[in-house]
Symmetry: C2
Subunit: 339 residues, 2 copies
């Protein structure tokens, strides 16, 4: 007793039963028949000794670890990572699971290594997360273990969790239309190759498809379509500055992400264009930025928390197929007449 933790044998001794009895009672097996009194004695002994089971022994015996692996390409580079991780953390806490986080940098060898070391540890399931939604190529033969791809797709894994980009695209159009500013809209950030699926970013393709469908349903067309390859503030600034200087000013901007919108705000500030009086802006992602801008940026949010949670649920339930998570509109002050 002086040395080491209290073990199940200690509990058994104190309760005056065998350790098999302790094991069965504490793990709450359904079809056993111990007396009420034995139940009570065991529970009391365990409590008195503040017994905690040894996870390694249990994992060795049962081949399950009550832990999930969260393997991602980049925790670092994107500000979205913690949404996904936070959601996964919440989901796994609720399911009584631990989360082992690994990062691969997207390098195939490291991905294989991560999966191997997950398997070494009798992991109960793997969440393979991509920080930038993309088609994921899993290493060699997928192991015989529940798996889900989070924020990406993969032909080797039958279960995906993705944002409902198409719905989100429609939603953005709806916001503009209902505010009555859909007449003169500039679409900022399209990319020909992307749209045709050449770069296999399925989500972005769907986002655009939703936007175009929404416009078409309302019989609307864009006044401008500005192509931008790199969705960063500086590019958004340049594009919108040029647009505002052109004389043919739009009454609304539909930016394909918040960073472009941020650049647009800067261009407006320098050109003396007021948001939303002169120009309404809506975009996508609900980046942390969006709340800081003046006026607050109305944006269609990426539901990363929810996605992380669902990934855990699905990997534990071994669900198959694609799960689309709705992208809620976060209405702030950047659309005239709304918010």
């Amino acid at each position: 007793m002086a040395k080491g933790r209290t073990t199940m044998a200690d509990v058994a001794r104190r309760a005056g039963v065998s350790s098999a009895t302790v094991s069965m009672i504490l793990s709450g097996r359904p079809d056993t028949r111990f007396s009420q009194e034995t139940h009570a004695r065991v529970h009391q002994a365990a409590a008195e000794l503040s017994y905690r089971p040894n996870a390694a022994a249990r994992a060795l015996r049962t081949d399950r670890s009550h832990a999930l692996a969260f393997i991602s390409d980049h925790v670092a580079t994107t500000r979205f990572a913690n949404g996904l991780i936070r959601g996964a953390l919440k989901g796994s806490a609720r399911a009584g699971q631990m989360l082992m986080v690994m990062e691969t940098g997207g390098v195939p060898e490291r991905e294989a290594l991560a999966i191997d070391s997950a398997l070494d540890r009798q992991i109960d399931g793997i969440i393979f997360a991509s920080m930038r939604a993309r088609e994921i190529t899993l290493p060699k033969t997928p192991p015989a273990i529940p798996m889900v791809v989070l924020n990406g797709t993969s032909s080797q894994c039958p279960s995906w969790v993705l944002p409902d980009e198409e719905g989100g695209g429609r939603e953005a159009v709806r916001l503009l239309a209902e505010a009555g500013v859909a007449g003169e809209v500039a679409l900022i950030g399209i990319n020909e190759e992307e749209e045709r699926g050449l770069f296999r970013s399925l989500p972005i393709q769907r986002r655009l498809a939703g936007i175009r469908a929404g416009m078409a349903e309302r019989g609307l067309a864009f006044a401008h379509e500005v192509s931008i390859w790199e969705w960063e503030p500086a590019r958004g600034f340049e594009a919108v500055a040029a647009l505002l200087a052109s004389g043919d000013r739009p009454s609304a901007l539909l930016c394909l992400n918040d960073r472009l919108a941020f650049g647009a705000y800067q261009a407006c500030a320098e050109a003396g264009v007021r948001v939303p009086e002169d120009l309404s802006i809506v975009s996508f992602d609900n980046d942390e930025l969006a709340a800081y801008l003046r006026p607050g940026l109305t944006t269609i949010a990426l539901p990363h928390d929810r996605m992380g949670e669902l990934a855990v649920d699905r990997v534990l339930a071994q669900s198959q197929g694609e799960e689309l998570v709705p992208m809620p509109a976060v209405v702030r002050g950047s659309i005239r007449g709304a918010g």
Copy 2:
């Protein structure tokens, strides 16, 4: 062989030796004396069967798991979390350790629970991370396991990793002084109570101490000191807008974090004040924002990646005492004459 993974016994059988031999050779024990030939046979057999040791069995026997617990109060709320996690991930990968991430919300019961479940799993060490630097109260008696407090302090744990806020404060003053704009500086965001240590945020106290020391060493004094409780863009905007309207305009702003500086940029834009021609700005944190602003914001960076890495190193080395990680200046365009 058809059922389950290949085990050490399989390797032993194929190499024609005992499993004790396999264990000792594969784990590279130093003082054993097996023939070269046996070494080769064992390694070859292991490779041919692509043997991987069962982590649970090993943990059960050795009481070590080759895994660290990263227990934090909030992964969510702050954008700094992934810097710390990323660093810890990098450090643990290098040390051949896994990282189990847990989140407690700062709730004492959940903190205790997290520590308990870490101990259940024969964790090799605990990194207790605070997302907002603060004094951490660890649950009850600290367990007999290596521990380090990351981005916080604790009287119950002898090892801390903190940013060198005092050096950072000095550095900010140096940048302004060398640009020759230190004469008319407004300090944005002080807080009386904080500075006197009433809210036990040691780092912020030190940041201010460094700033004041830097000014004093140069025989300088602030032209304005604006007190702000909540360091958010909206508050920075209000404060700086008022300052610019006052007629007694400073030539430089020393903002206590990037979000305040962001608010300051907005106030400048509305007041027609140009950065850095009319007003130089420097701040702290190197938030993602800082790179997006026009001109880029010069800021003293919080070295979260490095801190996360060091935390791992220290917990494995069982180092004691306080480690101060330098805060590097990231020079962009917001100070006149520099960058």
